[in-house]
């Protein structure tokens, strides 16, 4: 259901994305997923990793500004309309989505939707009530890695 996402501040300049990712790879930390939000001048790298405590420490020790955020994972059938159905539920329940991203789950025919809700607890409640399938970190990593 809820899982921890790490966000890292980057300047939007050539080569800047590589630096924190190299750092994580040196520590043998594998990324489950990565999403990047950017403006002309800066970007926010958002990652989901299994050992987020270690990743957070490694990045902080190297001087990066890191923020830990709770996001909500929903899994849907990987078919047309899978995402739309969840968004309809969110819309009806007036759930505010700050941002979201999605990726297919390797070990199933399903896809993971990662949501950053303004009110994650209320979102979980509403999505579950509407029959949505929420997954926790263990399930997510088991299906994806």
């Amino acid at each position: 259901m809820k899982l921890q996402q790490l966000s890292i501040f980057l300047e939007n300049r050539p080569g800047h994305l590589a630096k924190p990712l190299e750092l994580l790879s040196e520590q043998g930390i594998n990324l489950l997923n990565l999403s990047l939000a950017d403006t002309a001048e800066f970007g926010i790298l958002r990652i989901i990793v299994r050992d987020w405590q270690k990743a957070e420490q490694v990045l902080k020790d190297a001087g990066w500004v890191v923020k830990l955020t709770e996001v909500v994972a929903v899994d849907v059938e990987d078919r047309p309309g899978g995402l739309a159905e969840v968004l309809q539920v969110a819309g009806r329940a007036d759930l505010k989505i700050e941002y979201m991203y999605a990726f297919p789950l390797r070990r199933s025919d399903r896809a993971a939707l990662i949501f950053r809700f303004e009110q994650p607890d209320r979102a979980i409640e509403q999505l579950q009530a509407a029959g949505g399938h929420l997954i926790d970190a263990e399930e997510l990593f088991a299906a994806a890695e």
């Binding site: 501040f9 950017d38 926010i44």
Partner: protein, 444 residues
């Protein structure tokens, strides 16, 4: 000989310029007489100065020769702030006919006052300034210095009128109107900041106008540092002679010193403002020719006598006599300052003010750097701020809001648009643990 030329207003010296040609011993005599009077006036009427002199066991009578000035206490910008608004006035308000105030600072500005006689002196030194830059009756002066609390506009205005020139009080801004006025009113001389004038040249080119075809022959530039390279650019671009003038509100406004036809150093109007150059670290006076901080004493100011004001401007007195014939001493054009204050579009900005704005928005002080550039002739200010965990967010909009709030807080202080960039931690270079706060890339 001189007298005849003074009468020849069209071609030679303006009568007001007579003190610029005093024999040296006569000039020193005038200075000593006025110094003794101004110190007495300040001692009798200004508590801060009296207290400081008493702390040093000094009385006005101790000023027996000009070199005794070195025993007097300094006055700093902080003193003017601390005594806001009227604490350094030596005249009752009933004798004060004008107030000006510094602009562009947070908190309290600096207030300066003038009696009727002070305004006459101001008009006189600005007349001498214009005369020194080759202007006379018959010239049409477009004054683009700002009118208002800033001393530039009105200071230049009354000087040009007193010279006998025709003044157009256009004030700053509205570049297209400036060009229309310049062309349609057959303007021969313009007062402006050098960066604004460069902008005017660019704008004229955009409008398909060649300023070299206009009657304009002289530019009077001040209120911000500029270089000889910029002078060449202005002189060639507009087909004019460009002169540097110097002044500061604390002393009188524009009219403290001016270049002459030689364009090689600025003559101080020494009969009204006594210049010293000191070692900024020790405060000790330096002999003429050595570089240090310029210190000025008003010799004739009534409303607000200022004793040994630390200008923070770094320069040196040029000991050689000037080929123009003036006997007043010159100092080198000011290229840098002894503190980290910088001047952008005529506004004095201290990094500490930028820090205050950053602190107000963020709660803690992030590492930051101010970068000054000159684009199309206009000074631009950018501030790079390292992102801290306190302000960082995973949401783009939240970070954009932080960026905008920081920019707004700084703009509120400096009064011009500021480019604000959020940068990664540790990207701003530190030396000895301390970041260099101001990077001035304006090709001065």
């Amino acid at each position: 000989m001189l007298k005849e030329r003074w009468n020849d207003v069209e071609g030679g010296f303006h009568p007001a310029s007579a003190p610029d040609y005093l024999p040296e011993d006569k000039l020193r005599e005038v200075q000593l007489r006025r110094l003794r009077a101004v110190v007495k006036r300040a001692y009798d009427n200004v508590e801060l100065i009296r207290t400081r002199m008493q702390d040093k066991d000094m009385a006005p009578e101790d000023i027996k020769q000009l070199s005794d000035i070195a025993h007097l206490p300094f006055t700093t910008k902080l003193d003017l702030r601390d005594t806001y608004p009227f604490g350094l006035f030596a005249s009752p308000m009933s004798d004060i006919v004008r107030l000006h105030a510094s602009s562009g600072t947070t908190g309290k500005p600096i207030v300066v006052a003038y009696t009727r006689e002070d305004l006459e002196v101001w008009a006189e030194v600005m007349t001498r300034t214009f005369a020194s830059c080759g202007l006379h009756r018959g010239d049409v002066v477009q004054n683009a210095f700002g009118y208002g609390l800033f001393t530039g506009g009105l200071g230049a205005h009354y000087g040009a009128e007193s010279l006998g020139a025709t003044v157009i009080p256009v004030s700053g801004g509205n570049t297209e109107r400036q060009l229309m006025v310049m062309k349609d009113f057959s303007v021969t001389a313009m007062c402006a900041t050098p960066s604004y004038f460069t902008h005017i040249i660019e704008r004229a080119l955009d409008m398909g106008m060649d300023m070299r075809d206009l009657p304009l022959h002289t530019g009077i530039f001040g209120a911000e540092p500029w270089s000889d390279a910029m002078r060449s650019h202005i002189e060639q671009g507009a087909g004019i002679k460009a002169y540097d003038i110097y002044g500061l509100s604390e002393i009188i406004g524009p009219g403290v010193a001016s270049e002459c036809s030689e364009q090689n150093g600025l003559h101080v109007f020494e009969d009204h403002f006594y210049p010293e150059v000191i070692d900024p670290e020790t405060g000790e006076p330096l002999p003429d020719g050595e570089e240090g901080e310029l210190v000025l004493t008003t010799l004739s100011k009534q409303a607000m006598p200022i004793i040994r004001y630390r200008t923070r401007d770094i320069t040196r007195i040029i000991p050689e006599t000037c080929a123009c014939g003036r006997t007043t001493r010159r100092f080198r054009r000011v290229g840098r300052r002894s503190d980290d204050m910088f001047i952008i579009r005529g506004v004095n900005v201290f990094p500490s003010q930028v820090e205050a704005a950053l602190l107000q928005v963020e709660g803690t002080l992030p590492h930051y750097q101010i970068i000054l550039t000159r684009e199309n002739g206009l000074d631009q200010m950018a501030v790079e701020v390292e992102v801290t965990p306190e302000v960082f967010s995973d949401k783009v909009r939240a970070l954009e809001d932080v960026r905008a709030a920081l920019a707004k807080a700084i703009e509120h202080i400096v009064g011009i648009r500021v480019g604000l960039r959020l940068v990664e931690p540790r990207t701003i270079a530190r030396s000895e643990g301390k970041a260099k706060r101001v990077i001035d890339n304006r090709s001065l």
